[in-house]
Amino acid sequence: MGELRLMKGNEVLAEAAIRAGVDGYFGYPITPQSEVMETLMLRKPWEETGMVVLQAESEVASINMVYGGAACGKKVMTSSSSPGYSLMQEGISYLAGAELPCVIINVSRGGPGLGTIQPSQADYFQVTKGGGHGDYHVIALAPNSVQEMSDFMTLAFDLAFKYRCPAVILSDGAIGQMMEKVYLSDFVPRRTEEQIRKDCGEWCTLGSKRHNVITSLELDSVVMEQRNIALMKKYAEMQKEARYEAYMTDDADYLFVAFGTASRICKKSIEMAREKGIKAGLFRPITLYPFPTKALYEIGTKMKGILSVEMNAGQMVEDVKLAVECKVPVEWAGRNGGIIPSPDEVLEALETKIIGGK
């Protein structure tokens, strides 16, 4: 285990990036995640590891700088919050189409539009269902603690490079702003160009002699279809990366499904429920894409009912229903507009919507 520190979630993202040997960060200030870039600027990683930190003129510029950096096989990343993440969709679609690896952090806030700066999970659809145009997916990791903000940085880059696909860390304002103890990972040196050439092969623009055009364009439909099929194969292959946490599910009659901040509330609700004699457990998807469908089917179909607890108007609940093939009752509960549901509210929803609703 690495160095123990007490840190804010957003600061940890910055620290973890330096420690993961990231080559470049490109960002634009937006609440509630401006601390990511500010912490990086304060840490001056360019002196320590040579990592570049650049404040772009917009999120559109940031994601395109990422696009350019990724084409060179470098570990590049950006961070933003919901409205800024929306602006990046075009770039993300192109990155996915051109099959380039990168990490994008979305410390999400309430919407639609400018919405609120308070925490929310309303970007679930945008992150997991594509967001931009065309048939593509991004790997989506959902930390629920400051520790995971640290751990998922390395994981996100590993998966992004393994599948040559953008990886998103979907956090929210609450985890971004809260302070917790964290074991930081050890420093990984930035890869040399030699290593990048070896790891990435010929696709990266690193002085390879081969004519190599980074593109997502294919005008011939027959060839384009083959590209789509190759992407579909890749996404199918990715399913094995699905990760989840099952908490007190072994003896449970009822199941909460929740990710990120909402999952922490559910753990408290479970404690309260069990005091009342209601056996509840939690299934927490860690990867939102690939969604842990199989595991949720196995655990979820043993339950009397499932409550999908979300800080949005009910988005993940659709994937939960699909996962359990509607074999058990599934309902949604949650709050919107940047409000975190209380453990009492969640328990009450379980009692009224699932237990009482049967």
Partner: protein, 341 residues
């Protein structure tokens, strides 16, 4: 009668919303100037629209009691363009900041000027990102230490006036937040201008960039570090109004001279003409930086060129005139016709 345009006062334009800007922020002064001149435009409240993007400056539409539009970061100008085209009767005012207008909105900014949309744009230039708490902006001076430039910025800032004139802007004026008289003068001139009227107000962010403009506004030096340009008047400044601007001989530069020194007389001093189409002198005036030059205040450029909506309406009228079809019946009778029996 609230809507008798001649009876409107400043108070009619102050909304009931609680103002959320920090105490002492320059934004308070700018909005007060705007509210003061609006009754003089002879427009009904419902024919006025204040539009913004995102940032501290962009809270303005909440505080002015007209139609308001709090839009998208950087996109106030396209939104304003759409509104003006859809309802040409509107007097459209955009309140924006150096981040909103020149970073994320930089592209829209130059295109709005190029098209000469009939929109009034007030840029609250505090040289910092205030709302996100203190990162550098595209007008932050090189070398400035901010939250995202702990070793000083390494980016050359934009001079908004230079950019606007370069992009084909037909109106550029500058004022200081603490000088309401000048602000109102500039805003009224902008209101009269046909086309994109771009005003830069040097605004103090007391929290994240306090004193950014103190250098030119310091009591002791301001007479030497500012020049108030007025149409048809010689470009004089200084405590005794004995300094002036003239064109250097054999060069395309301005120089600061003193009346009475080196045989300089008032006849050597340039006379300000904001209406000349040539951009040369206007660009030089917009570019002047203290201490070498005084910073130009007032209306620097105000030239008459066709505005987008006029040209658009002209094309529509022309197309209507030339067409063979004047009503739906003409169109229906234009091709082959059959009788279905």
């Amino acid at each position: 009668m609230e809507n008798d345009v001649n009876k409107l006062t400043k108070e009619d334009f102050v909304s009931a919303q609680m103002v959320k800007w920090c105490p002492g922020c320059g934004d308070h002064f700018i909005i007060a100037s705007l509210e003061s001149i609006l009754p003089q435009l002879g427009k009904k409240k419902e024919d006025l629209l204040v539009i913004s993007g995102i940032g501290c400056s962009s809270r303005s539409p909440y505080y002015v009691n007209t139609y308001g539009f709090h839009g998208i970061h950087g996109r106030a100008l396209p939104i304003a363009s759409g509104a003006k085209i859809a309802n040409p009767n509107l007097s459209v005012w955009v309140t924006t900041g150096d981040g909103d207008c020149l970073a994320i909105g930089g592209n829209h900014f130059i295109h709005c000027l190029r098209r000469n949309m009939d929109i009034k744009v007030i840029l609250y230039n505090n040289q910092i990102y205030g709302l996100t708490k203190g990162q550098y902006s595209p007008t932050t001076p090189m070398g400035k230490i901010t939250k995202t430039s702990p070793m000083g910025t390494i980016e050359e800032p934009f001079n908004p006036g230079e950019l606007a004139i370069g992009a084909g802007g037909t109106f550029f004026a500058r004022a200081l937040d603490v000088n309401p008289k000048l602000q109102m003068e500039v805003m009224l001139a902008a209101a009269k201008h046909k086309g994109t009227a771009f005003m830069e107000v040097l605004q103090n962010c007391v929290i994240f960039n306090n004193g950014a403009h103190a250098y030119i506004n310091d009591k002791e030096f301001k007479a030497d570090r500012q020049i108030h340009l007025e149409d048809g008047k010689p470009m004089l400044f200084g405590k005794n109004m004995d300094k002036g601007l003239k064109l250097c001989k054999n060069s395309t530069k301005l120089e600061v001279v003193t009346l009475g020194e080196n045989n300089i007389t008032i006849d050597d001093i340039l006379v300000h003409n904001p209406h000349q189409e040539d951009r040369g002198v206007h660009l030089m005036l917009a570019q002047m930086k203290a201490p070498e030059y005084p910073v130009a205040m007032g209306v620097i450029r105000d030239v008459d060129k066709p505005v987008y909506s006029e040209l658009l309406e002209g094309q529509i009228a022309e197309a209507k005139q030339k067409t063979k079809f004047h009503c739906v019946q003409d169109l229906l009778n234009s091709g082959n016709t059959w009788n279905v029996e």
